[in-house]
């Protein structure tokens, strides 16, 4: 048995390369080796040390990338051979529109707001003309484009340094139907680690748009019980009580009875159970 075998095991287990337990032989060797114990402790501290949050790049990175992507897509379209019927021409228009709107993802909040305003005015106008002359496939394709653009915009804003811009991102996410699992995953991850209570509360409200929590439900329950902020804990409990599954509501009620939640939150849950049902 050598030191390096045990160090190898420790690093591998922390980096998820190895799920094996410490063997008896290794444990015995470790017991008699104080310096090795200190080394392992250091490795553990370093690997589990919080290094959040990550440094965020500037808006310029997004601008440059989307401009590059837009140019690549334009080049690709120009290389496409047009077909004989009109449908190729008409499907090109929504694509060009998407490229154009994407290239409007400028860094300044005003331009982003203008982009979104354009997207929604367009959506609004389309909604005003249910019997328009457009082909219904193109219409739904365009709507899908708009929805996916809003999703991309939401996801981009959610990564901003400024809390107010992240609030914008949450507001945009509410405009989508949260059908994009990546957006939902991002919202829940941000809920767990964002330093701003305002952003976290806004995310919880946004999550109430979800039709079904799925596997995230348990994660939300764990978050609720471990939450330190009173406001966030109450809102998480409200979210689960109103929209969670029967099982999760039962679990929450059990947590309340076992006094694992803050007293104000326990009172809230009791009061919620007296709320009227329609």
């Amino acid at each position: 048995m050598k030191n390096q075998t045990i160090i190898d095991w420790k690093i591998a287990s922390l980096a998820n390369n190895d799920n094996s337990e410490l063997s008896e032989e290794m444990a015995k060797y470790l017991q008699n080796n104080r310096q090795l114990q200190e080394e392992l402790l250091f490795i553990e501290h370093f690997w589990t040390n919080d290094v959040k949050p990550l440094i965020m790049p500037s808006d310029k990175l997004d601008v440059n990338f989307y401009q590059m992507l837009s140019r690549a897509q334009s080049a690709q379209q120009q290389a496409m051979q047009p077909t004989e019927n009109g449908s190729s021409y008409s499907t090109e228009q929504p694509l060009s529109l998407m490229d154009k709107v994407k290239s409007w993802f400028m860094p300044s909040p005003i331009a982003q707001f203008a982009t979104l305003a354009f997207v929604f005015v367009l959506g609004f106008n389309l909604n005003q003309k249910p019997n328009n002359n457009k082909n219904s496939n193109e219409y739904s394709a365009l709507q899908q484009d708009i929805s996916s653009l809003t999703t991309v915009l939401a996801m981009s804003m959610l990564q901003k340094d400024s809390a107010s811009e992240r609030l914008s991102g949450v507001a945009y996410s509410r405009q989508t139907d949260l059908s994009n699992p990546l957006l939902v995953e991002q919202l829940i991850a941000l809920l767990a680690r964002d330093k701003s209570t305002s952003v976290r509360l806004a995310i919880i409200k946004s999550l109430s748009e979800l039709k079904y929590f799925g596997s995230s439900e348990q994660q939300l329950l764990t978050m609720a019980t471990q939450e330190e902020s009173l406001l966030v804990q109450i809102e998480l409990c409200r979210l689960l009580l109103n929209y969670g599954s029967v099982d999760i509501k039962r679990s929450l009620a059990e947590q309340a009875n076992q006094q694992q939640l803050k007293p104000e939150v326990r009172e809230f849950i009791k009061a919620q159970s007296l709320a009227s049902y329609i």
Partner: protein, 182 residues
């Protein structure tokens, strides 16, 4: 949930808009990888942009034999190497003061956690770039040993040995910094 490898195959097949999802999912980690390896913010952003340009340009060469992340980091490393080859007069790593490795914990969290994080980060900044890279790829970019050994083109045992060596140097640096503080 989405599969990055699947998305990259779609990009390869011509659905270029799928690259946006891969970009959004990886840009922050990739940016931090460049910053942590000693590049300033502006250059790190340029390197992220260059990496994704190459991902797009070389999309037909993506075979799926490795994960998307592993393939992307391979391109990232080549991008950095080429950059410094073209700019030989510039220092390979920026002055350590320029590296923004300080954690920004909120003030409402414990002050001592911040101090410890700072020391960890300073230790990381003080070891050699080669040692630092192995720790970054494993600890921060979360690539597994297989991915890293493919990336660095070395066998598994050599990788483990390099990892041990790097961690040992990190610990020495940490203890030295702690000693200086007390």
């Amino acid at each position: 949930m989405f599969d990055e490898k699947e998305l990259m195959f779609q990009v390869k097949a011509g659905q270029l808009d799928k690259l946006a999802t891969l970009f959004e999912n990886n840009k922050v980690q990739l940016f931090n990888y460049f910053v942590r390896t000693g590049n300033n913010r502006a250059l790190s952003e340029d390197l992220v942009q260059e990496t994704f340009m190459r991902v797009l340009a070389y999309r037909t060469s993506f075979s799926g034999s490795s994960t998307f992340k592993s393939w992307m980091y391979g391109i990232a490393r080549n991008t950095v190497a080429e950059h410094y080859r073209k700019n030989k007069n510039q220092a390979l790593n920026c002055d350590m003061d320029d590296v923004e490795l300080i954690n920004e914990q909120t003030l409402s969290e414990e002050f001592d956690k911040k101090q410890q994080s700072d020391i960890f980060n300073q230790s990381l900044a003080s070891i050699s770039p080669e040692d630092r890279e192995i720790i970054l790829l494993s600890r921060f970019q979360q690539l597994n040993y297989q991915e890293i050994s493919t990336l660095l083109d070395c066998n598994l045992n050599t990788l483990k040995s390099r990892m041990r060596n790097a961690v040992s140097k990190l610990q020495m640096s940490y203890q030295k910094l702690v000693g200086e503080m007390s």
